[in-house]
Every structure is written in C-alpha cells, then in structure tokens.
Symmetry: C2
Subunit: 359 residues, 2 copies
C-alpha cells in the first residue's frame, strides 16, 4: 500500500466491494416473482411451510428471496411457520451460514433455519416433505469429471468429441437431481431453479459476444507452458467439472412423457433464459479505470476457478511454488484486462425454471 494515496485506494475498494455478491444476488432476486407465483399455487397442508435452498454456500445471497418467500406464505396464512433447510457439501462453512441467516431473517417470527451437509446428488429430505425448493447457480457442478479436454479448460470450448462425455454426465446428473427432488416434494410442491446455461444465442457465463472468459483462461494457462513454467500434461489437466446445458438439454426430461422424471410426477411450468450483466464491467463502463477494473474483476474469477488450476499442477512442485505459478497465471490475465479492458465481462447467463410435483 505504501506510495499509494490512501483515499483513492479506499474509493476503489468501496466501489468494487462485494460486486461479486451483488451479481449473484441480482440473479437470485430476479427469481422472486417466480417464487411468489409458485407459493400462491402450493397446497398449504398441516405444519410448517417447508423450504430448501440447495447449494446455498453461506446463505447470504438468497436472504432477499427468502424474506419475499416468507412474505408470500404469510400473505396466504398470517400464522404459518416456515422452515428453511440450507444445503451444501459437508465442508461448507455452516457457522457463517447460521450467523448470516440469523442476521438476515432473525427478525421474522416463526421462521426456522436448518442445514444439511449433503450433496444434491443424494437424497436430502424425507419423502413428500418439501413445499418449495430453490437453487441459485449451483447445478452446473457435475458429480464427477467425466472426461479430459486437451486445449480447453471448460467443456463449453471443448471439441465436439470431447463434449460427448460431459453432455452425457450432465444429462445423467440432471436426472439424478430431479428424481431426488421429485421424491422430496409434497404433492403440488414446486422447484424454482436458476442455473447457468448455454442460451439460444450460444452465450454462456463469461461469453456474451465479445471476449471469452474461458478462452482467456486457456490462453494464459497455455502461456505458462510456452514460458517453460508448466508441462503439457499440466496444461491438459486443468478441466472444470462443469457443464452449461442448453435449454433443450434442460427440457429433455420434461418433454418426454415416458422419461423417469415425468413418471415421477415432475412437470415443467416455466423455462426461460436471461442475461444478468457483469457488475464489474458495468462499473468500468461508468468509471473507465482499466487498472481498477482489472484489479477487482480478476480476483472474482479466481475465487471460483483457482482450485481447478492449483489441482492441475503436478505434486512434484513444492506447495509454495504451485501457489506462485497460479499467482503468475492470474497476474497475466489481470495485465491483459488492464491493457485492453473493453469486452472483458463475466455476464451471467441463466436458465430459470419452475416445475411442479403433480398430485
């Protein structure tokens, strides 16, 4: 920090602070009308109105949606209690989750929060016990890495042949998710899901017609090989265990009345894609400060991508060296953004779906 005028640094921090959270929250907030319509249709049986938030992380970004959900339930039945189960993998920070939820919902009487440290690829809730299930930006993570990509780091830029096992795994995983949720839903219950997708224009997270985030990742990663820092095997080992389904892929189990999902009683009520603009690029468009944009934008990419690149490095590197290699990788990405900022953006491209459990 020395040598920098403190007030300017503080302005930059304040300007970009929590833009990542804001973006994820915008996506979730845009589900509120879908949740309100769903709540109006769900039969209110005895006991609490039971909600699940699948892949909730620290629970912070869905607080606004959960408050709106409680309001919608109470508009139908002022005294109805609401039980919200937040789910994520066992290593999630549930202490932070409980504190955030207590701070964000603790003033609402008759709202009870629970956690489950169980993957959404497993059963989480008892049979027919769920009124409304929600998930925001979680189900692009596959249950396993189903194949290897030679030049790409994400299947979205893999070759046609490379994409085959990823698409097959994504279809199988989607069915697994839906069948578990069909068993958990009470008759008339709803799922409201916001998932990353590849939309009708071919757009997806980090590519909406200009620069391509995943291509930029791959270019800078291969650049480390060209500089003699990592091996060809390490270039190939960086693969995201993710897949962005198309609308057709999301719809497939519902469009086939003989599918296992249809036979389980799950019916699609709503399906649309929508782009939520990158909050970092939006701020850059206003402020036109390339260095501040690069310094704020690249760390948010790093937050969810770093483990894939660290994990691709051979164990023969000492741990400190692995971290230094990854530092160099993101520094080169950041230098590119600072030098040529226009067109870099991590716009969110989502498929929003509502489905009902018949009964």
């Amino acid at each position: 920090m020395s040598g920098q005028p403190t007030p300017i640094i503080r302005m930059r921090d304040a300007g970009y602070y929590s833009a990542n959270t804001i973006g994820a929250r915008h996506v979730i907030d845009s589900c509120i009308p879908l949740v309100q319509r769903a709540v109006a249709e769900i039969p209110l049986t005895g006991g609490a109105f039971r909600v699940a938030d699948y892949g909730a992380a620290d629970g912070g970004t869905s607080l606004g949606l959960q408050r709106a959900l409680v309001d919608a339930v109470r508009a139908r039945d002022a005294g109805r209690q609401v039980a919200i189960t937040y789910t994520d993998l066992p290593h999630n920070d549930f202490s932070t989750l409980f504190r955030q939820v207590q701070a964000g919902l603790g003033d609402l009487p008759g709202v009870f929060a629970f956690a489950s440290g169980t993957s959404f690829y497993s059963r989480i809730l008892p049979d027919a016990s769920l009124h409304l299930g929600f998930s925001g930006t979680a189900m692009h993570w596959l249950s396993r890495l189903p194949g290897q990509l030679a030049d790409a780091v994400h299947a979205v830029l893999g070759t046609a042949a490379e994409r085959v096992p990823f698409a097959a795994q994504a279809a199988a995983d989607w069915q697994t998710i839906l069948l578990h949720r069909a068993a958990e839903l009470a008759p008339g219950g709803r799922l409201v899901l916001a998932n990353f997708c590849q939309d009708e224009a071919g757009y997806y997270l980090g590519y909406t017609g200009r620069k391509n985030m995943h291509a930029t990742f791959a270019k800078h990663w291969a650049g480390l090989r060209d500089a003699g820092v990592i091996t060809e095997a390490e270039v190939r080992a960086a693969n995201f265990p993710q897949f962005y389904k198309t609308v057709a892929e999301f719809r497939a189990p519902f469009d086939d009345p003989a599918s296992a999902v249809s036979r389980a009683g799950l019916v699609l009520e709503h399906c649309e894609t929508r782009i939520t603009p990158c909050p970092y690029a939006a701020r850059f468009a206003q402020e036109r400060d390339p260095a501040a944009f690069a310094a704020a934008y690249v760390p948010t990419l790093r937050s969810w991508s770093e483990n894939v690149f660290l994990g691709a490095l051979d164990a023969s590197h000492p741990a400190g060296q692995r971290q230094a290699i990854v530092d160099r990788f993101y520094a080169s990405y950041e230098a590119e953004v600072a030098a040529e900022p226009d067109g870099h953006a991590m716009d969110y491209v989502h498929c929003f779906m509502v489905m009902a459990k018949q009964g």
Copy 2:
C-alpha cells in the same frame, strides 16, 4: 518426543486415547433403554419420525443412541423414515458433525440428518413437529453468568449467598428450555434428558466423596495469586456459567400442577440419578501409573474449563503470557495428580429424566 522411547508413549496414548469420548458416550448409551421405551409410546403420525439432539457438539458420542433409536422406530414401522436435527451454538463445527454422522449413520437407509445453529434457550423447531428430543450433558450451561464467586470457581462450592442468583438463573433457564421444548413436541412426543446434577448424596461432577475437582481448580488458581502471577481480581473473575441442579430443582416445574411447564402439557414420567465412573481413574486403578494418569486426566479437564480461566485474565497481559499462565495452572494441577493420584476422578453424576407432551 525426542529422548522418549516411542513404544511406551504409544502405549500410553493408546490406553488413554479418547477416554473422554468414551465416558461421555457411556452416559449417553445408558439412555438407550429410556429412549427405546419412549419410542414405543410415541404416536406414529404421518411423515418422518422427527428427532432432535440438543447441544450435540460433533454428534459422535450419540451415534450409538441414534442407531438404537432408529432400530426402535423400525421395529414398529419398518419403512418409517427418521429425520434427526442436531443442534448447537452457531460456532460449533458443523462440518465435522456432518462427516461424523455420515460415517456413523450413513449405512442406514431413510435416515436424514440436519443441523441447527441455535441455542436451546431459543425456539429451534416448528410447533408440534418433534417426536423425540434428546440431550446429553449440555444443559448445565446457563444462559448467562448471573453472579460472582469470591473464592470458588463453580457455584457448587460458592457460599449460600453466592449460590442464590445462580440457583435463580438455573430455575429460570430450566423453565425456558422446557417451555420451548413443550411447544416443539408433537402430542405424545417425549424428551429424554441426561443432565449433570447434584445428587441425593450431595455428589456432582468431579466430587463423589474423595477429592473435589472444583476445589482443586480453585486451590491451584489461588496459588497463582500467592505466587504473584495473577491478581486478586483475576482470582475472583474465574467463574463457570454453570449450575448443577438438585433432583428437587429438576422436578419443581413438574411437581407443581399450576406451573407454566405443567400448563404447557409437559409431564414427568421418569427421574433418577446415576454415577458414571471416570474412565481415567478406572484405568489408573488397573495400571497404577500416576504420571500417565495425570498426563491424560488433566488435559480432559482443560478441554472444557480452559476458556473460563483464560477469560478471567486481565487484557493487560499479552496474549502469549495469558496462555503461559494457564499452562502453569494446569501443570500445577497435573503435578498434584502425579504426586498423589488416589482420589482424583471426574466421575459423571447425572439426572436422567423422561417427560411426555400430553395430548
């Protein structure tokens, strides 16, 4: 470790390893017959059989009880699902809890685990949603420290006047706990509780007629003042926010038909006290190795008592010095045990209660 013959150290470790867990688990396992009888009486309404484990910490010590509980439910209805909610304060390590429960119960089909990071001094579950609530060795922690003790560190050795606000807080806290649980229980649901008590002989945790653990704490703590290490104010500031109720105090809300607890429909079905022997003292009686006993026994006291002594030290000590003072405190306790081991024991003294929600 250098200079010590490794095999002997490993024998000591193996001998004393997890004796603390074993003792706590013995107490909980001794509740299994009470739980089995309770399950046989509870009406099986629709949906999952819902269980709560209040103040569960990492969930490890109650795994045997929870398996027996699932077996008892399945003996009545082979297909009945079971949902277990583990509760503790928000800072509890819920990731470890989920991993332990997955390892310990994951082979049982139709069992669902949840967590709630909510104090049992608050409402945790929706109205009438609980079939069986259990708690093992948790409710001696008061909701606040209600007074100061001059010479004692625990209210059990306080003066009659000093005990008054502790007894009043314990009575109020007990009513708070019971009224919340009465609201949570379904009609016919049961609570099975194992709580530290002062029994009919006047015995309590760490005092069963021979040496007194709480007196030994106080003696070594005052010894630091006599050695000029801590101040008189620091001696007085070490107070456990705990109370060991007598059987009469546990029974009071149930013996008065006009009490708030009785009016809430909670009825006492079973109440007895029992002593569970200290596993460290039991092993010492077999092995007669005073140094090994002292080295294993004092760290287990330290595990639950250290924060009280650290917290009593004035902030004017640097942090490293505070830790060194507490190291010296437990070292002097350990030296006493090693020199005169006979009579030292942390026997558990519990009141076991079963109560039913009428309706």
